[in-house]
């Protein structure tokens, strides 16, 4: 791992926490403002060690499809998130895995508690690892990629209709 200065590290950690909070609160417009134009959003099946698109993933969004996803969430008639799930992410183990110029690959573990209020009322638990690719831009740090590897991604999952 390349070393980064403490101020950069604090910025990166703050970004990861902020991204999690906006997702927790279904503030999708603000969340979307964090992404770059070439954003790639990926939730693989099993470990994310394959080329996205060569086999089926839960989510494999480019920027355009992510835009559609967020517009669908914002319609107010997306029944699978109507009403939106109440959620909290506990994020830990934030590590800067590598740096390359103005980009940082950042790993973290998380557990997400979701109250699936739409039908079953279950408290659902999602646990896994997020890998962010963050980029310095004139507007500050932005997210160019996010990969979420769920611990139990090989099991049949319930609805994953929010932004994870």
């Amino acid at each position: 791992m390349d070393r980064v200065d403490e101020a950069t590290r604090r910025d990166i950690e703050a970004f990861v926490y902020r991204e999690a909070r906006l997702a927790d609160e279904s503030r999708y417009g603000e969340w979307e403002a964090l992404v770059t134009d070439d954003m790639h959003y990926w939730v693989p099946f099993g470990p994310g060690n394959y080329e996205p698109g060569t086999r089926v993933s839960y989510i494999n969004d480019n920027r355009a499809r992510l835009g559609t996803r967020i517009r669908q969430l914002a319609t107010g008639i997306h029944h699978a998130q109507d009403p939106p799930s109440s959620m909290r992410r506990v994020v830990s183990n934030i590590e800067i895995l590598s740096t390359d110029g103005d980009e940082f690959e950042v790993g973290s573990n998380f557990v997400l508690y979701e109250h699936a209020v739409q039908a079953t009322g279950h408290l659902r638990l999602w646990a896994g690892r997020a890998t962010h690719r963050l980029r310095h831009t004139p507007d500050g740090l932005r997210m160019a990629a996010k990969k979420v590897e769920l611990v139990n991604s090989t099991s049949p999952l319930p609805n994953l209709a929010f932004i994870i």
Binding site: D38, R55, N62, A64, P156
Partner: protein, 518 residues
């Protein structure tokens, strides 16, 4: 306590000819554990069940774990190239042999006492032979009474009493599988793109209904319609309205049904959402393989959106299987319909379509899941005792379009928004659950729809009959487009994920948000 003056339904002897009527079914069919037990016997043991596809296990020793109803099985390829289906349960003490979902092994070896089986389930050996009469236990892995394969689709019948697979599929089911398999220029599908499962807290029968319901699409999935931007052809579908689309709901008998979009496509490859130039090698391969005429037909028609009783959903560019686990718990697994072709791009497009349409994070299926879960709860909570005790209330209405339904040539059809497909499923269900071997073709039954519903008697209902070949005349000239094709491929990431490193300098160009994907 005074019950309503209707037949009390107590114990396991459910009267399915009463619970399933031509235009309505009773809610207890989704929630009653004794109904579920009857289904496991009459449908998933005594009948044919889809297991998997040959292409999933191309090499000797390959296997995948599946379910036949609640029975866990392994579908394997023997070193000789034969397909076998065996119980995933050691014949000695019952240990699960393979806890993984897939693998490749020379044989199945139980970790408990190292009893070892060939891939066809034959016992090869058990350690310390002196303790066994003849040096070896006289057992093998349980296996279905018969398996059958059609166009690579593997089916199994546990009891062995269901008659030949061809009879179960009938001309309607066979034609649907033909149309799916013919999407591949070699005639062989490659279902090796991975299966994704979705857990649903609902009864399994809400899936044959939901997957083949042409009525709900513009309502339940309206959020996606509103999210795709103006100019999308999807909008036309939404605004098309009743009777305007040329798409048709079909019932082929035997529980096999289809939402037939073929007449609605206005361009070739409309189902793919891509012009020929994007997949020209695929189209050339089709012409080389099938000739120009048939290739044209394939390019226009696309893959079917259909259901093969009791658990196989041909979801256009997806193949899905439905696993019932309990009255209120179902798994819906899907895999992209990949083809054998020299074209470098079409399978990538199909994977991207699959990710958009199906699975827990897709644009379509989560709505169906949450609605099925709401349905299930509505029948399961509180009212269950009453619903099981008598049938005065708690019915599901499935009568839409019954008066304008047409029939002939062994099938029924009606407007795509009519509940012909659900009725087709339930009609066969009634025949199977009440002991008839087959529901026969879906022709007219000669009985006018009842005007006084309460007065319905069994004699008025569609009858269970033997099969004949259906007819399939059609034309194409409408403007309706099927939905999944709107979600065309677009993801191009230049960044390869790896556990420890990544490379930059290969960012794809900016993609603005002012355009829908595709």
């Amino acid at each position: 306590m005074v019950l309503a003056a209707e037949t009390p339904i107590v114990g396991t002897g459910r009267d399915y000819t009463h619970l399933v009527q031509d235009y309505r079914v009773h809610g207890s069919l989704y929630t009653d554990p004794s109904v579920f037990a009857d289904e496991m016997k009459h449908i998933f043991t005594d009948g044919w069940v889809f297991v998997g596809h040959e292409s999933e296990i191309p090499n000797g020793g390959d296997w995948v774990a599946r379910r036949l109803g609640t029975e866990r099985v392994l579908m394997a390829r023997t070193p000789e190239g034969e397909i076998s289906v065996v119980a995933n349960r050691c014949a000695h003490r019952g240990t699960t042999l393979c806890p993984q979902s897939e693998g490749n092994n020379r044989n199945f070896r139980c970790p408990y006492h190292a009893w070892t089986y060939a891939l066809d389930g034959t016992l090869l050996g058990a350690p310390f032979p002196q303790g066994f009469r003849n040096g070896k236990p006289d057992v093998r892995l349980d296996q279905p009474g018969q398996i059958g394969i059609y166009r690579g689709f593997v089916f199994a019948n546990q009891s062995g009493t269901a008659g030949p697979l061809s009879e179960h599929l009938g001309p309607g089911g066979s034609d649907l599988l033909d149309r799916a398999a013919d999407m591949s220029p070699t005639g062989r599908l490659q279902l090796n793109g991975g299966w994704i499962g979705q857990r649903v807290d609902s009864n399994w029968k809400m899936w044959p209904e939901s997957d083949n319901d042409g009525y709900h699409i513009i309502f339940a999935h309206e959020s996606l319609a509103s999210s795709l931007l103006a100019g999308s052809q999807y909008e036309d579908v939404i605004l098309e309205g009743e009777g305007r689309t040329k798409s048709v709901a079909r019932d082929y008998g035997g529980g096999h049904v289809e939402l037939d979009f073929r007449k609605s496509y206005t361009t070739e490859l409309a189902w793919l959402g891509a012009p020929r130039g994007k997949v020209s090698a695929y189209c050339d391969d089709l012409e080389d393989a099938y000739g120009v005429e048939k290739a044209k037909s394939i390019m226009w028609d696309g893959p079917p959106h259909a259901f093969v009783f009791p658990n196989l959903f041909l979801g256009e560019m997806n193949i899905a299987r439905i696993d019932p686990l309990a009255p209120g718990l179902t798994e819906h697994h899907h895999t992209p319909l990949l083809v054998e072709t020299s074209d470098p791009g079409i399978n990538r497009r199909v994977v991207l379509q699959s990710e958009a349409a199906m699975g827990p994070a897709s644009f379509f299926l989560p709505e169906d899941v949450v609605i099925a879960e709401r349905m299930h709860r509505a029948f399961d909570v509180g009212g269950a005792t009453d619903l099981h005790g008598h049938t005065e209330r708690g019915w599901v209405e499935l009568g839409r379009g019954i008066e304008r339904e047409q029939s002939g040539g062994g099938q029924r059809w009606s407007d795509v928004t009519d509940e012909t497909t659900s009725r087709g499923f339930w009609h066969h269900y009634r025949c199977v659950m009440s002991g008839s071997a087959t529901s026969g073709p879906a022709e007219g039954n000669g009985a006018a729809p009842p005007t006084d519903r309460r007065a319905t008697v069994k004699a008025d209902q569609r009858r269970c009959r033997p099969s004949t070949r259906p007819r399939g005349a059609r034309s194409r000239n409408s403007s309706t487009t099927r939905l999944c094709s709107r979600m065309s491929p677009g993801t191009k990431t230049g960044w390869r994920w790896s556990p420890t490193t990544f490379t930059t300098g290969c960012r794809s160009g900016p993609v603005t948000t002012s355009r829908a994907p595709g």
